[in-house]
Amino acid sequence: MTSAHLLLLICLISGVTSVKGDVALLHQEVITGISIVTFKWNHVKTPYLVALWILVAVLAKLVIESFPSVTNVIPESALLICFGWILGGIIWAADLQQTFSLTPTVFFYFLLPQIILDAGYSMPNKLFFTNLGGILLYAILGTVWCAATLGLSLWGCQAGGAMGALDIGLLQYLLFGSLIAAVDPVAVLAVFEQVHVNEVLFIMVFGESLLNDGVTVVLFNVFDAFVKLGGPRINAVEIIKGIISFFVVAFGGSLVGLAFGLLVSLLSKYTKNIQIIEPGFIFVLGYLSYLTADMLSLSAILSVTFCGVSCQKYLNSNMAESSVNTVRYVMKVFANGSETIIFVFLGISAIDKTIWVWNTGFVLLTLFFTLVYRFIGTFIQTWWLNQYRLVPIAFIDQLIMSYGGLRGAVAYGLATMLDDQRIKEKKLMIGTTLIVVYFTVILQGVTMKPFVTWLKVKRAAVAEVTLIEKVQNKVFEHSLVAIEDISGQIGDNYLRGKWKIFEEKWMSRFLLTSEARKKQDYIFNVFHQLNLKDAVDYVDEGERRGSLEFVRNESAFINFKKKLGDEFSEVLPDIMAAASDDPDAMRRDPVSSVSLQMHEKTMQGTRETEDIDAHHLLQQHLYKGRKQHLHRYSRNHLDINTDDNEVQEIFQRTMRNRLESFKSAKMGLAPAKTITKHTKKDQQQKVIFIYSIEYMGYYTIASGGSFPFRVNYKAGAGIENPTFMPDPDPMAPMQIPPWQAEDEPDGSTVSPSQRAQVRLPWTPTNLRRLAPLRISTQSTDSFAQADTPASQEKDKKWPPPPPPPSDK
């Protein structure tokens, strides 16, 4: 079947090319009468050919993909190039000239932008920015190093006579070096996507390939200008201008991209009513950013990259789910299509007798130096970089990084743009570039996978981690946080924390719709998840116990709506849909772990207690620890995560544990009954006072906001741990925290939090979490009613919640 496809393809192509010849004939005929049907080839020629080429490329990919055993060994890109060769051969045979080749215009304006846009849009931002220092180092320094050394070495070799009668000036060599030096994003993506190395390694190589465009453009233009100027007119001023132009080009390009990214994010904020055109914006604006940067002679690739990088978060939040999916998918389609066409054309372009000027020395030496200098450069830079990295880059990873420096179509495109008036040996350079591209893509691409396996490079973590590992990960995390607190050292997350604060305060407010902002809010997410969990448990419970229970507790659902109130009316449908048993609705929701569980539940029916998947449970219930909340954590405020259920639970538990061990340690003392009048020493009082205030602060929040209470942080006032308290006098029993007291505590020091009993009854039938949850951009005034006691039945009325903060 596939060979028939091939045959069809071949016929199609030769048909097209031969038709071209026939067209000339038609024109010469004299029109003698009305023709019922005419063959208007010229009218449709260009669009037809374009469409046909796209079809051919895509069909080629289809054919290739139907041999997975082959694609496992040889990367797709290599196969596509080979296909291009075959195709080129056919066209050559039909036409005796190469009618189609990869022209710079087509490449740079129609094929490249979408690939880069896709790369930027799906860039893992966190990973990217964490490793940005290293990436910039490789991109800038590495490229300059490769270009300089290659150019100089080749020139030296020419002077040494290794290239025969060749005579190319030093500047031209440097120019050639600069276009050959750049690692190509398209090729890197194509090869690495089949190899799945660990994410740091990938982001290093890939990030480098994207960012080095800034350098390449500058180097190319500078040396091009130098070549045009001629040798003698280059002086220090020009060189300095060259250096300055690097900064301008690179930063300017990035800024243009950022501006467009922000623009598209802003636009997406207002498209609520016309969701159908939402996906269009990013494509148009992304392309415009590319063209604008190019128009201003700035780095176009950098521009598009940063456009994608900056807008992804906002677009994904603002747009409707279907639009988000559309954008992602369509981008991939375009990028993939472009990539395929590029590689096919790279193959076809080779079959062109006119470009091949062969000089053994030149070609071989270029190949050799490209490889060698890449290795040397990478190793030196990594050695230096590792001094500053927390996790040094392993030797094996460095090897792969060097080996993965693939050249691709960008180099070829630049080569074809060379001015052949000034550069006599343009053809040689083009030919050599093609050879280098083939060598890296085909040879290095094919050998990459075995190389990676042989060297046991750390792969992307796919393996399922064991439970003990998961627990251990968390233990590590918590330990780190604890040690950070003890030693007072500000962690590596400090800058990131600052950025998060800035970003939340200014950018999210400006660029996100109010709905999206609510969803962003951490509490809301927690709330949402908890609700989902409640709903799931509720249904489970109902199913387990039989329909009667279900009916009896139906009132709980009504409360749900009432309690949420208007504030959430817009997102309520989301929650309601999510809470229902509809798996489709669930899948819309980005809360992944819960939806997975939900989905499984609906698929498998009622879960038996014994059948609980321990992994899921662990995943879902592990306390997240503070590092993940760090963006809300400010070291200057008391209200550290006061709006977090998790924190309260941990806190209570810790305190309870301490008290229990305190109690058992101080056996022999009469169990404390009341905290009566304190006429004791001041110190004791102060201690209790501080103690109780702090607990009060937490507990009122815990109990549902009797009063919004903001406690001022006193430096040095800690939470006394009664277990460890020295026991100076028999008044020790007083240090039992208020909520454990049986009687009404004394009003002067302790607030009457009768509700603040310790027992936390958590059964699905108590949908206590479904309470008005104040969302605010400052984490101070929110209260989660997680820990209300079972005394709900006493019909205590919650005090009316304070009015929402004005910044809403």
Partner: protein, 169 residues
């Protein structure tokens, strides 16, 4: 290394610094530790079993566990293993679980840790099943407990290499 700020903080908060030693309640003064599920365990890790105080040297020694791993040190056997070696770090982590220091993490000890780290909603039976599963996965010699060696090798992947090198601040 420990930042000077940090030491001063602990000193400030303690009212008994003049003695030159820290007691557990001084750590208790650090509020954030109460928010940490394993905060209390970390605190007790600073104190050798049986001792009620920790002097400055021991304090720093424990903190030294968190120094970046030195892989270049040659193990000539004569030098005592440095505090920040991988094994020592792992031992430290192991002891967070193994409170009674018998060299094994029993099911009860694992349960205790899990209890502190998992949210309140998890029922006792769920906890039991998680602990059961965890021990099953890691226990190679079938003694229903996790020894230090089993702890190191989880699932054939050396836990040391993957995790502990990142254990720094």
């Amino acid at each position: 290394a420990v930042g000077p700020k940090g030491i001063f903080r602990v000193i400030e908060r303690s009212e008994q610094w003049s003695v030159g030693e820290l007691e557990p309640e001084d750590f208790g003064a650090i509020r954030e530790l109460s928010m940490n599920p394993i905060g209390d365990r970390i605190i007790s890790a600073f104190f050798s079993p049986g001792k009620e105080t920790v002097d400055f040297a021991s304090f720093v020694r424990i903190l030294a566990h968190f120094h970046p791993t030195e892989t270049s040190r040659s193990r000539d056997g004569v030098q005592p293993e440095p505090a920040n070696s991988r094994t020592r770090k792992l031992k430290f982590a192991f002891q967070l679980y193994d409170q009674d220091r018998d060299g094994k993490i029993s099911r009860e000890e694992l349960l205790q840790v899990l209890r502190t780290m998992l949210e309140m909603q998890v029922t006792e039976e769920q906890l039991q099943s998680i602990a059961e599963r965890a021990i099953q996965e890691a226990d190679l010699d079938q003694d229903d407990a996790i020894s230090f060696d089993e702890f190191r090798k989880v699932r054939g992947v050396d836990l040391i290499r993957d995790q502990i090198d990142n254990w720094e601040y």
